[in-house]
Symmetry: C2
Subunit: 398 residues, 2 copies
Amino acid sequence: MTVTLADVAARARVSPATVSRVLNGNYPVAASTRERVLRAVDDLDYVLNGPASSLAAATSDLVGILVNDIADPFFGIMAGAAQTQIGGPGDGSGRAGGEKLAVICNTGGSPERELTYLTLLQRQRAAAVVLTGGAIEDPEHQAAMTAKLAKLADAGTRIVFCGRPPLPEGDALVAALTFDNRGGGRRLTEHLISLGHRRIGYVAGPPERTTTRHRLEGHREALRAAGIGFAGGAGDPGTPEGPAVPVGPEVPGGPDGTGGVDDLHGPGGLGSLGEQERLTVHGPYDRRSGYEATLELLRRAPDVTAIVAANDTVALGACAAVRDQGMRIPQDVSVAGFDDLPFSVDAVPALTTVRLPLFEAGARAGRLAMGKENPPPGGIATIAAELMIRGSTAPPRG
Amino acid sequence: MTVTLADVAARARVSPATVSRVLNGNYPVAASTRERVLRAVDDLDYVLNGPASSLAAATSDLVGILVNDIADPFFGIMAGAAQTQIGGPGDGSGRAGGEKLAVICNTGGSPERELTYLTLLQRQRAAAVVLTGGAIEDPEHQAAMTAKLAKLADAGTRIVFCGRPPLPEGDALVAALTFDNRGGGRRLTEHLISLGHRRIGYVAGPPERTTTRHRLEGHREALRAAGIGFAGGAGDPGTPEGPAVPVGPEVPGGPDGTGGVDDLHGPGGLGSLGEQERLTVHGPYDRRSGYEATLELLRRAPDVTAIVAANDTVALGACAAVRDQGMRIPQDVSVAGFDDLPFSVDAVPALTTVRLPLFEAGARAGRLAMGKENPPPGGIATIAAELMIRGSTAPPRG
DNA sequence: CTGTTAGCGCATTCAT
DNA sequence: ATGAATGCGCTAACAG
């Protein structure tokens, strides 16, 4: 029924081993024999049995790419870019040469699924795994990830982080490409401050993700440097915990829909950390969250003159909310995003944001996963984020 | 070094066969033994060897999802949805139970890579393959695809189409979910006509894709029904071939950058098919193409009062071009898209478009691939497209 | 440069 | 309900 290597060998009048060598191409074979074998392969329409091959060789040609949400272009762009380096640029032969099979795994942001996919990949003896996007900072999960990745690395799987900080106790076996989220966040807020904004709302991502934390830290660094919002000087501005109120389906305030507006007054009104927290609302990285968080922000502090969103998608939701409240962008309220996704330049007005070279980073991660490129010194490379000033930010009124 | 089934068996004091039966769960095993085995598995941190398992069983737990461009949310949404049905909803056990490994394969729209991925999947003895998005209508490629898919089906791989018409000689073995692109396109243009538009430009996708053709056919159906642009009555409105000029990197007009403006005059000015072709410009499904094609359109026919784009992404580019020409949307020119991607509602003005239930379709395709759902009668289901009227379309001036 | 010989780790017959 | 034996299809030493 199904044609095997042996069948090809018989037809080409060579040994199975020779056929294998021709197919894998990593061994000297006489040109004439090679040709004979290839013809037999074509004649018989032979297709290599991947599992058998992987079993014998103890490695497979699978490369896993883990993403939090493949419907989000942030991940789509990185994953697609990585795949261009892994799936082979299509040698045109159509015969599927030495390329590996890049497989994108959508975790949906769930820690369990992240681990499950890692196990599945481990099962398949994946050649490499690329982990993209922000990591979850839950210690338990981090420990589990560290252990799992160590096992994968042990088994010869190459591990690459892309847009994600390396694990605390990460082995030197991994290469990490990390975005300068903190620096980008800082420069963005510096830009707003330089325009004259003093009351700046922040629509943050989910509290437990590194990306969220770093961007928020950058934001607060800029505020503090300008002497805004931290006169009280208390607390660590880098910690998004505290009274900052989440928004979205998992609102802990209960099903009453109020979003859990907290009645915190803080020690000293404007100038305290409490004040900054009051101007920060957390929620998922999606449009709806941006919309709702912004409404909440506007309710809490009707005098904000600018809103910084966790990313461009959230910023779009923020824009919609601002408009629905009858305010204009940027005349009444400035809005800024993060990532510079393709649609951001087409927003009206065009979105001021921080550009992350997602495609380049993804491609580089792909190359690292393939061993085509040497890891950066120390295993970690920080990728610069570029401030893109556009029409959605302007000086505040008055 | 690496722990195998035999190791687990030894520790649990049972035979390897029993361990296998416990793990696969499809065989009667005494509860007490099962427990002993599971404990051994945990103690030893055993992970099944996928390749070995697949080799012995002659099947694997891989499901391939082919997409044209994973950076495009159109595909990201469908692929992510499919994966929710395949990767298992995360049973929370973290132990990777019966789920399959859904792998997204990014073809970049290249026919060669499409076939290459299919071969790779065939190698892996994939359990199922989901093909998403428009197909390429090149006869040679279609024949190759038909042959390849037949072989896959032969080998027991389930084939599912999602948002893609079935192959001409497609076996009954495949299930197909196809979008009503033609109907959606027709209703969209009917909407514009009912607003009073008579000169409507069309920014089409790549000429060789089914999606492009069907949407364009719907558009022309509506025009013809209204007696617009086909007074000549000649030619098949369904054929996007002819003098319609493509735009983008692969402009055949040469490197002169003129975009190959054709000097076609047609037999009878307004009212001929030639006129409709003059109002149609083809290009890739991306923003830049939408921008450039629209400039070209405006150059050819400065009196168009509406522009229909092949999809929302292209429509965004079209909007930018219209604005850069100093015209307002929708007062001077109406613009419409297709797909209703998440960002479309946030465009300013919000984009009139045709909603495709991408998530639902993707999820259903995933279920079909898993055999969780029965194929529709006849193997083909057409999914309705819903017209979404928003602010970007309005009656023409005057 | 090519053929021979052994497994790789597991799922399955068969027995029991 | 469990154990023993066989082979899935291929690659990787070794010869030669």
